[in-house]
């Protein structure tokens, strides 16, 4: 009977199949890697050969012509001397000019260069799937734009803006757009794919699935990366306008990247008139809810504050059912706006008819401190700042990066030390931990026989102590 009991613990067929599949994938990857290395080696050799040939040729030409070519005629005398000097030592005397490489333009490649692996998700903007580039074996995310043929405005402006902005961006915390590819049938353009770098996770599904919340040090790492990405965007006059956990991607090396720029746009200073219908409701700043049409980076910082709260509790911070309910939740958490806390608040379009409880009686201040009892004073200070009702009072992304919170212990965890998670997008799943079944009826009781327990507590003295309780800091 012992053998039968044992079989319940052992790997079942599904596990074996999974194992085999993983092994196969691994082997495939290995093969591709080897192939790539070989190709690179070949290319390098070829390049070296051509470079050597070109150099030899240049040498020969230089000997023949003896000097710069005739078309580089200079008129000013000092240049002539410079030229003469340059003949002896070109590198030191030639003016060092910056060259701005902008690349070229031309037709896009075909989507046939990629093999689809699996679908990841479908959103309002399009379909995302995981794919592999045939030539290199690299895994990418393909995002197909949704095109409504009944749309009287032509191609969707959100998709075009996303392409335009992502092409201009180059930052480690912003998702990279590698290229845009189209379907093979170019007579009718309806299959447009953005080729984005693939990241294993989005923050939202991790938060939903994780059994324990992030450690304080992990929250800091994530938040610092988010702030540095947002700082880059704002530095380049880009407002994201839809920051939320499901738009933040995370890879298995602990790197966070901001994605989904469908709502994003370039702005100027002073900010132009913009639509107030931006940002998912739960992350929408109060000035947007009150109908402002001139706003700036502070609306993104409010979303960052909401994300901060969500990272701590694994639950979206302000889950309003509609705009009014959202405002109610905001005032409950951050207090009711007053003349001191938000001087210009009454001038906003939707604030005129607002009736607020008078601040005379009960406390109408912020309850953030009480809601996050385990957060340090600096953390609460930062969260309070980000969730300041008055957009003027919120810190900019740059100010946030310099905040005391990131310098305090525990320090932000190194990205490489970040825990890994099963990737939903990569079709991995958490290993089911099966608990043993109750003993079957009529089963024979196991005979323990002679067992030695003496070793169990040896080495106890060397173990670390502490961490048995946490202080409530109010």
């Amino acid at each position: 009977m012992a053998s039968k009991a044992k079989s319940r613990w052992a790997d079942d067929e599904a596990d074996a199949a999974l194992e085999a599949q993983l092994k196969k994938e691994k082997e495939e990857k290995k093969r591709l890697k080897a192939e790539k290395a070989r190709r690179l080696e070949e290319e390098k050799k070829a390049r070296e050969a051509t470079a050597a040939a070109a150099q030899a040729q240049a040498q020969a030409e230089g000997d023949g012509a003896n000097g710069p070519p005739a078309k580089r005629r200079r008129i000013s005398p000092e240049r002539e001397t410079a030229q003469a000097a340059a003949a002896s030592d070109e590198n030191t005397n030639a003016p060092k000019l910056l060259r701005f490489g902008g690349g070229a333009f031309g037709r896009p490649r075909s989507v046939e260069n990629y093999d689809k692996l699996n679908d990841i998700e479908e959103g309002a903007y399009g379909w995302v799937s995981r794919a592999k580039e045939v030539a290199t074996g690299e895994v990418v995310a393909l995002k197909r734009l949704k095109i409504d043929p009944k749309d009287r405005g032509g191609l969707p402006v959100t998709g075009l803006r996303e392409i335009q902005i992502l092409k201009d961006c180059d930052h480690r915390n912003v998702v990279k757009l590698r290229e845009v590819v189209v379907g093979d049938d170019t007579s009718r353009i309806e299959n447009i794919f953005l080729v984005l770098e693939f990241l294993e996770h989005d923050l939202k599904s991790i938060l939903e699935d994780m059994p324990e919340p992030f450690l304080a040090s992990e929250v800091k790492t994530l938040l610092r990366q988010l702030a540095s990405g947002v700082a880059y965007l704002h530095d380049n006059w880009i407002l994201h306008r839809d920051l939320k956990t499901s738009n933040l991607l995370l890879n298995n090396r602990g790197q966070l990247k901001i994605a989904d720029f469908g709502m994003a746009r370039y702005v100027g200073d002073p900010p132009p008139k913009l639509t107030q219908l931006v940002v998912t409701l739960w992350y929408r700043a109060p000035e947007l809810l009150l109908g402002t049409s001139r706003y700036d980076g502070a609306i993104d910082m409010w979303s960052v504050g909401c994300i901060f709260g969500e990272l701590l509790t694994r639950e979206p911070l302000l889950q309003g059912r509609n705009e009014v309910d959202e405002l109610t939740k905001i005032f409950e958490l951050c207090g009711v706006p007053t003349e001191e806390s938000w001087p210009s608040f009454r001038r906003l379009p939707n604030a005129r008819g607002l009736r607020l409880p008078s601040s005379g009686g009960r406390a109408t201040g912020s309850t953030i401190r009480a809601k996050f009892p385990l957060l340090t004073a600096a953390g609460v200070g930062l969260l309070n700042g980000l969730l300041a009702l008055d957009p003027e009072k919120r810190p900019t992304a740059k100010e946030m990066l310099a905040h005391e919170y990131f310098r305090q212990d525990p320090k932000p965890k190194q990205e490489a030390m970040f825990p890994t998670f099963p990737s939903k997008a990569g079709q991995e799943r958490r290993r089911r931990r099966e608990t043993p079944n109750a003993p079957a009826r009529g089963q024979q009781a196991a005979d323990l026989g002679a067992v030695d327990f003496t070793g169990i507590f040896s080495g106890r003295e060397r173990e670390e102590r502490g961490g048995g309780f946490s202080l409530r800091m109010v």
């Binding site: 070229a104 333009f105 032509g154 075009l160 392409i163 845009v180 447009i192």
Partner: protein
Amino acid sequence: MSHMSNPLATPDQLFQRRSIDALPIELQDAIFFATQCLTQAAGILLQLPQSVTAQANVLLARYWLVEPMMSHEFSDVSAATIYLTAKLSAHPRSPRDLANVYAYLLSRSTAFFHNPKNPPPPPPNDPSSYYLSEAAYHAFRNRVLALEARVLCALAFDTHVALPHPLAVTYLQALEFLGVPKDRIAKKAVAYLNAALLSPQMLYLTSQPNALAVAAVYNAARDIGAKMPECEWWEVFDVEREELGFLVVGMRSVDGWGRKMRADLKGMMRGAERGMVTRRDVEDELRRRGVEVVVVRAASGNEVDAEEEAARRMDEKMASLEAGG
């Protein structure tokens, strides 16, 4: 760095201009000039900022290095590019506005392409000549939207255009406006930059914005007689003397060349009471020159028919749907 750099034309793309089309190069230049002028005129009537219209000019120039000129009507390409850049900017314009503006510009009453220095008797303003029927509007919109997608696809959806205008102002500030009235020299420099958009040398596709800005500042300073620094000041802005010289000459030649081009174009549109050259004009011109037009006709003719057929069928379907609902 994106506001300092543009994707440039490759030598292959520039070379192909001479082989991609059956069109002689001077005809290509004439079409290029007329269409860029049309875009500028439309930009003014649509009340778009010059930054948006100039981007449309640059995108159109890029597009024509990828696809042959004769594959679509020139005015449609102009409308599609300006629609696209306006849509991506803070000043979108509706297809309806666009259709009205282009209907006027292409009508008999248009003031477009009449020499302002030597005006002919002003065209009689006949509103019926630019009245836009609903069917004509739908056909126009469908053509422009289809072309918008084509243009985007030909450019791999890269709509990035860095204009040299703001750089020129910044450089002038750095040079303390060379001791002359600010607005005078700045206006002159910007005028050079705008004229360069029309140049058949496609200066915006062969030089980076910093070089264009320096050349415009140089030209403006010379015209006004401002004293430039003795040293090689252009190197401060990362421009080589050689490139500067090329651009200075290129920009100065646009004015005279443009005047001649206007006269040539008028000759090409013999007898037509229009401001804008069309594909039919070009085909007639080719026939007059004895160049075999058959090839061009066949290629473009089929495509047009197929497109018109598709548009017509779509309209019919829409009509039946609307009647049904």
